[in-house]
Each structure stands twice: as structure tokens, then as C-alpha cells.
Symmetry: C2
């Protein structure tokens, strides 16, 4: 039986660079990206199971009732959720799972799966965060101000996370997150679940036989 | 003011390879090695402050009375101890300090400095541990058996540690320990002491000003 994988939650304020970091992590490490379920219609070119798991509202509500989402939210009439069954299946098969999610979502995931590794991505400075939000170009002056103020407020939630990583460069941030994964796999309080089942088990078997 | 350094305690049963790992760590990382204080006479070539801090028994006992050792022990009439004042001085100046110590010593250090990073070095297998103890060549059959049984028993103390690292190869073990140091510096519960004083402080200052 393989050792259980780690759930790595990459979160932080909008504009901190979560998406870029996740893409780079997926290239350099053997991680399984958690894909969201949604009730919205697939757009042109979107593939079920790659971009989203597309579901009817009825199926989505059934899954809510059976507590099958780590978290879910309604955005403009469509529902989006993190499918617990898909994530747990990957973790049980020994895969490390990466989940990119906003702060409200991450806090709900933590309630449901506290043994996850919760990483807060910080922009190098608030000026840089402002610059990144502006550079997206898709914001009006008003929505920009709202996003920026919300990012300010959200940084207070950092204390709920295990780690904070400053996204000064993607390379630095990814290196730190990879180090965090290596370290987490050496944590004694995870031994029973992971290392004990592989390397250390031989020692323990000899010890207690 | 520099951010406070980390105290990294490398411990584990005799024969697990603590010494080799520490030597390799000192070569690859900018760490300060904690040097023990002792009441024994310097041997030929030993340098005060490099091999040991050599002290008179009177001075050593004074330091015990003023609680200036993280831990100390008597071995064949000589005293050995980890000088708290030297370690704290290095940590306060921002240096990461490495301390190689047996399990009994590490548990005492933990009582005195629980914020240290306690790493348990495991041999790849108990056969390998036996082979390593035999290869030292300095053991009688009886003392070898005693050491081996004690190593067996000592592995039970692993639950008191933060991390366990299997010393399959020195390169692997050192890489894992370096990852642990990187990760520990990203821990949110250390932010106040370390990261907050450097990178994140700018964000926080802007946030709360």
C-alpha cells in the first residue's frame, strides 16, 4: 500500500501570484492538480476533468447534501466546489495534491482537512500587489480599489496558515514550497501515515517483532 | 536588528551518522556549530573554543548553579555541557546554530529551548546500524551488544522530535535537513521572530500604519 499523499493548499490574496506558482510547481514536481467542479456550461475548448468537472445543478446539490465538497461557493449564479472524493482518491493512491484557492475557500478546506499543508503566498510588497492588479488591465478604478482593500484585509488570515512564502520571484517561491514539501514528509507527526509505511517501517518491524 | 537564528538539534542513536551529517551540513550551509564546555584537560592539539570550551570544575559548577547550560552530564569524572550563553548569543545575532547531541541530551535541550528544530537521524536499517557500530572497531562484543540494544530502545524517543531523517546516504540526509531549515523559516508561527523582521515587515508596516 502506498503512503498517503500530502494536500498542499496554495492560497493568498488575489494578485499575489498563486496561479503562476502552481503552474511552475506542476512543471517541476510530480503533483496532481485538484480540478474544481462547476455547474456552469463548458466554454469552447474546455475539457471535462481537465479545466473543470462539469456537473448539473441537481448533481451538484446532491454532492453538497452528502458533504462531498471540501468547500463550494456561488459566483454569479454558478456553483464552484472542490470535489472531496477526487482529492481523497488521489491522496489515498499516494499522490501529492495541489489546490490553488482563495483565502475564504482555503479556510473551509482547513476545517475539513486540517492535516493539509496550508501555504500563504505573499506579494513582495503592497505596491507590487497594486501594480500586479493594475497590470491585469481588467479592472475598473473602483473594482481595483475594492480588490486592493480586500487583499489588505485578507493578509490578516495569515495566522491560520502553516507557512508563508513571499513571491519575490517565482523561482524562489517554488524552491521554498518544494522545501516545505520535503520537510513535511520528514515530520514525525506524519510518520505513522507516510514514512512509517515505507522506509522506517523496516526499522519498526525489526524493533517490535 | 537581524532576525533570530534557528537552533537545529541533530540527534539520534549512536551509529546513525550524526557526526558525518553535521560535518557535511557545516560545509554546505552557513551554520554555527555549538561547541561543548568541559572540565577535562585539553588534549594535545585541542583548541579552546574550537574543540571545547575548557573550564575549571569550579567555573563549571558556577554555570550549573546559574542555569547556564542547556544540558550537562558527567562522564568518567569529567563534566560536559552545552553552554546556553554561547548558543543564545549566536542565535540573537541571527546565526543558525547546529547542535549534535545524543538523545538524552536533546530531550533536556528541548525542555530548555522548545522552539528549537529537533531532528532525529535514523540509520537506513537496524542491520546497517549494527554494521556501522561494528566497523568502528573500538567495541568489545559485550559493549557492542549494549550499544545496539540501547539504540533499539532510544528509537522510541522519536516521537519527542519534530522531524525524522533516514541517513541512507549523507547527500540525501543533508538535502532533507537543508529543506527542513528552509521550511522552518517559512513557518507562520515563526514569522514574528524571523520573517516579520525582514521581508514581511514592510507589508505589515504598510498594513497597520
Amino acid at each position: 500500500m502506498p503512503s498517503k499523499g500530502l494536500l498542499i493548499v496554495i492560497s493568498g490574496p488575489s494578485g499575489a501570484g498563486k496561479g503562476t506558482i502552481c503552474k511552475a510547481l506542476l512543471k517541476s514536481s510530480d503533483l496532481w492538480l485538484s480540478v474544481s467542479a462547476t455547474t456552469r456550461e463548458p466554454r469552447c475548448g474546455e475539457v471535462d476533468g481537465t479545466n473543470y468537472y462539469f456537473m448539473s445543478k441537481d448533481d451538484f446539490f446532491d454532492k453538497i447534501r452528502t458533504d462531498d465538497f471540501f468547500e463550494y461557493a456561488e459566483v454569479y449564479g454558478n456553483f464552484y466546489g472542490t470535489p472531496k472524493w477526487k482529492v481523497l482518491e488521489a491522496l489515498e493512491s499516494g499522490r501529492d495534491v495541489i489546490l490553488e484557492i482563495d483565502i475564504q475557500g482555503a479556510l473551509k478546506v482547513k476545517q475539513n482537512y486540517p492535516e493539509g499543508v496550508f501555504i500563504f503566498v505573499l506579494p513582495p510588497s503592497m505596491e507590487e500587489l497594486r501594480r500586479r492588479i493594475i497590470n491585469r488591465g481588467s479592472e475598473t478604478e473602483e473594482s481595483l480599489d475594492r480588490r486592493f482593500k480586500s487583499a489588505y484585509k485578507e493578509i490578516n488570515y495569515i495566522s491560520k496558515y502553516n507557512y508563508a512564502v513571499v513571491n519575490d520571484t517565482v523561482f524562489n517561491a517554488v524552491s521554498k514550497i518544494e522545501a516545505i514539501l520535503t520537510a513535511e514528509k520528514c515530520r514525525v507527526d506524519r510518520l505513522k501515515d507516510s514514512i512509517l509505511k515505507t522506509e522506517e517501517v523496516r526499522i519498526y518491524e525489526q524493533l517490535y517483532d
